[in-house]
């Protein structure tokens, strides 16, 4: 029994510090998000295309000959937390969307200011969000785009 007691004390003495040295930091808080909207894209079904949604202006541009209409908008992420604390942001991986005859892919996610940023002195940060939408040639039927993507945000 005495040995068990010694071992438990040793266990607490050795195991405890590893747990206690873990830094205690509050999480950044996502106060709100708003969606990216690509409006209406009339595809160039012969060639495919890549559209880019500007994270700052919300403007949509086509590398090829897609016809664009409707209202477009950049997304937004509003963060609060420790004033002046720097953050690292991990963008989503490529997100495929299946359609008849081919696929579209959401990719190359961008943020105004990049993926490493700092909260301001008041502990807030607002980020514009954009990305590319690349679609294959020969899609025979499109459809609505309704996806959810996630950025991972952490203090440095």
């Amino acid at each position: 029994m005495r040995r068990i007691g010694i071992l438990i004390v040793a266990m607490i003495a050795l195991g405890g510090p590893f747990a206690w040295v873990a830094p205690v930091k509050a999480q950044p808080v996502i106060d709100s998000t708003s969606s990216m909207n690509f409006g209406r894209i009339i595809m160039d079904t012969a060639s495919g295309d890549t559209l880019t949604l500007n994270p700052s202006t919300g403007q949509l541009t086509a590398a090829g000959s897609s016809a664009l209409s409707g209202v477009t908008s950049a997304g937004n992420i509003s963060i609060s937390g420790t004033p002046n604390q720097s953050l690292s942001i991990l963008p989503p991986s490529d997100t495929p969307i299946s359609f008849s005859g081919g696929n579209a892919t959401l990719k190359n996610f961008t943020l105004t200011g990049g993926m490493t940023q700092s909260l301001n002195g008041g502990g807030t940060l607002s980020l514009g969000v954009g990305c590319d939408l690349q679609y294959d040639a020969h899609i025979t039927q499109g459809g609505p785009i309704n996806q959810s993507i996630s950025f991972i945000i952490d203090y440095n």
Binding site: M11, V21, A22, S35, N37, F38, G39, I41, V129, F151
Partner: protein, 173 residues
Amino acid sequence: MKNSMTRLLCGAAVLAAFAAGFIIPMQNANAVNAAVSVTGNLNIPLVVSSTTPIAFGTIIMIPAGDTVTVNASTGAITGLAATTFAGTASNGTIVLAGQGNASVSFTDPATIDVAVTGGSYHIQNFVVNGGDTQSLSAGGALTVKVGADLAYDASISSGGVISSTATFTVAYN
């Protein structure tokens, strides 16, 4: 035997404590997810597959002038006054192919004025059967019938053949 078991259990407990000590700090407990939705519409082009003409048949004019109508739904021709008709009248057809279930809007043609001896006639008041806002089927098809009025002046002294092109504009909403 009892001692060996005790040592084994205690050893396991110590290892577990070490593991807990190492593993817990390695978890990225401070990271948060920011979910952003992405919306829009990716549509195939809207294509006019075929059309058929609006036919007025033969209109026997009356001196007072008249307005005759080809019904967009039935293709029947009628006059406001005493104009008489011969031949075959019919409504026109527009066949569209595009994005399944998409809503589209038609913009009707402006009046077409045609001068003839002694006056003119006017093809006007174009109508899309079912209205100017409609939806393609799930398979991306839509066929609409179209009609129009033809108004002719009282002063026309010599008629002729009607041959005009009217253009409806259709686009996704």
